[in-house]
Symmetry: C2
Subunit: 205 residues, 2 copies
């Protein structure tokens, strides 16, 4: 676009003016002030955990403290974990998983790991310093019935005012979605694994 | 789950063993080694930019350098920007936007801002230190024809080997999706704005 004539510029101005009116009215309509949100990232697409860590980063930018409990991951090393080290004890990181369930092949061990992770999550929820808590892959633990869904939903509903919680993982339970304020479904439109590209540093881990 | 009998544990073990075989075969089938990916985050759901910044964080954890060019945002202050300051000059941050198009209501100014942002993006693509480049909200600039789609797609296709690029924003152009390696659609299942909760620190900005 190099040449913009006056008529076109005027039409654009008019259109955007109307758009702004709609936008401003929407913002003004927000009745409830701030609220600690229960956020769910689900779906088969890539980015659920990554987006949760992006939110954590944003909170850290405001000088706040965040908690991370990983329900499945744990055995391996990840880039975000090293990056979060830059924020010292403002990131409370707990990798409580034993790897994916098809790695351990041990039901009793998976259940014990999930229960320990959930106990850790509850402790972080009770800590008034924590502004945002990431429950990474808790949906997997719920899907396999490693945790009591009723207990998890009830505890999350009863979280202290102001605490934001992000629950990630595929196949979020309907009861969790019902309790949530914000739910995003990550849908895979196209994936490089299908084209034969392997998992690589900085992208997948 | 408190009582797990032996038969149940054995069934679980057998099921997960099969699952692991499928998983291992899939990993082994990846023929192409590492590749700089063109990633697109689109859709109406929340988290597109946040997930891109999560990827940037992961890269920073590996000691790499990332570039960020914001095509729309710029006027306002965000938490992630402050957080990235912890990584010094390993984050090359350029907010080149003038705000949303309905704020400026000035077509010529929007086009000029988009072109300046794209020139900055090209400079970062040429810099061998940059491992990941986030083109935040470039889809908005493309949607309004502020930039030449052909030029953008051709330049991105011709990126240097190993460079990962993430393009964010609603309504990604089909030509961009065609050129991409990884595309995630962020679908809004439930949004707290609809329930009257306003934008708040650490969550929306």
């Amino acid at each position: 676009m190099t040449d913009i004539d006056e008529a076109e510029a005027a039409r654009h101005r008019e259109k955007m003016k109307k758009r702004k009116e709609v936008q401003d009215a929407e913002v003004a309509s927000k009745a409830i002030a701030e609220k600690g949100l229960l956020i769910v990232h689900t779906g088969k697409g890539k980015g659920k955990t990554t987006a949760a860590f992006g939110l954590a980063l944003r909170m850290l930018g405001y000088g706040k403290t965040v908690g991370v409990v990983q329900f499945v991951k744990g055995a391996w090393h990840t880039g975000e974990r090293d990056a979060f080290a830059a924020f010292g004890d403002r990131v409370r990181w707990h990798s409580m998983g034993e790897g994916f369930t098809w790695e351990t092949q041990d039901l009793q061990r998976d259940v014990a790991a999930a229960e320990a992770a959930w106990a850790q999550a509850k402790a972080l929820m009770a800590d008034p310093d924590v502004a945002l808590l990431v429950l990474d892959e808790i949906n997997i633990a719920l899907r396999y019935d490693y945790l009591s869904l009723a207990d998890v939903v009830e505890t999350l509903r009863g979280r202290r005012a102001g605490l934001h919680v992000v629950a990630t993982g595929r196949n979020a339970k309907p009861e969790l979605i019902e309790a949530a304020d914000l739910v995003t479904e990550f849908e895979a439109v196209k994936h490089h694994f299908a084209a034969g590209v392997k998992a690589q540093e900085g992208i997948e881990f």
